[in-house]
């Protein structure tokens, strides 16, 4: 007498269990995501120099690129050649140097980004031939005049990170 009742109860509850499932759907589209991982800070190791190098007391700006599809984008990073804000610098010239390197990567093969890097003016261009995430370290150094001290005040400069579809 008990056995049929148990079977009946099991049959009745089974559809309720099935209806509790909830589907989740999503689409992964080809895209490039530019992420500002770390904002840089200029260190002032000597009166004439501002530098983002850690050894100079600065912080390197780090930019992360996430690439969904391989060989769909080029990354372009442009280091500054002027201050976006600074105290008055008079007529003295500021000499700028900068470089960009792929430092951390989600795929070891991405080291080829540095091999295939093209540098022109103050821009480094990397063909993003492997999908995944890559972190670029950007260094920027500004030297003022001929052994002239930078005037006291705050200095800002802009690094431009671009992702251009191929």
């Amino acid at each position: 007498m008990k056995k049929p009742l148990i079977i009946l109860a099991a049959l009745l509850t089974a559809p309720m269990l099935v209806s509790a499932t909830t589907p989740i759907s999503g689409t992964v589209a080809s895209k490039c995501i530019v992420t500002t991982d770390t904002d840089g800070v200029y260190g002032n190791p000597s009166a004439t120099k501002l530098s983002t190098a850690t050894t100079d007391g600065g912080v390197l700006p780090i930019i992360r690129y996430d690439i969904i599809t391989a060989s769909a984008y080029n990354a372009k990073v442009t280091t500054p050649i002027s201050f976006s804000s600074s105290p008055s610098l008079g007529s003295e010239t500021v000499t700028w140097t900068g470089s960009t390197v792929a430092n951390q990567m989600s795929d070891a093969g991405m080291s080829v980004f540095n091999t295939n890097k093209v540098v022109y003016n103050n821009t480094s261009e990397f063909p993003l031939t492997i999908a995944g995430s890559v972190w670029f370290d950007v260094s920027s150094v500004a030297t003022y005049g001929y052994n002239k001290a930078f005037p006291a005040g705050s200095y800002s400069a802009v690094v431009t990170a671009e992702c251009i579809a191929q």
Partner: protein, 124 residues
């Protein structure tokens, strides 16, 4: 050492901010106005410090191509998504090569090193 790496990831994870501009390869199609072509782009802002983005259309040599969008400077909140309609006259349709969005930095921002981001999609 492991605790240090986790701390680093947590700190970086909370700080990271991103800019997305999709699709990668938009297609121009005729709009409801004769002789005008259109495409729809999507902008996602997860850069906390950025509120404004500009949109631009360029040819293959990076010369500006006339286009219409409303407005041309987009105000977009943190973690907000915006659909952007781009309209091009048919005489510029074959000239247009890239559609780009670029973060705009307010002059009041005084961070020591600021990162401007630009993403360009290629018209197919």
């Amino acid at each position: 050492m492991r605790a240090f790496i986790i701390l680093l990831l947590v700190l970086n994870g909370g700080y990271a901010s991103a800019h997305q501009w999709t699709p990668t390869y938009p297609k121009l199609k005729p709009s409801h106005v004769t002789g005008v072509y259109t495409t729809k782009m999507e902008l996602f802002n997860s850069r906390k410090e950025i509120r404004y983005y500009s949109v631009g259309v360029f040819d293959k040599d990076w010369n500006k191509v006339p286009f219409v969008t409303s407005p041309s400077i987009l105000r977009i909140s943190y973690l907000d998504k915006r659909l952007v309609d781009i309209y091009l006259h048919k005489k510029h349709k074959n000239k247009a090569h890239y559609i780009c969005s670029r973060s705009k930095i307010l002059s009041s921002v005084r961070d020591p090193s600021i990162i401007a981001s630009r993403i360009c999609s290629k018209i197919k």
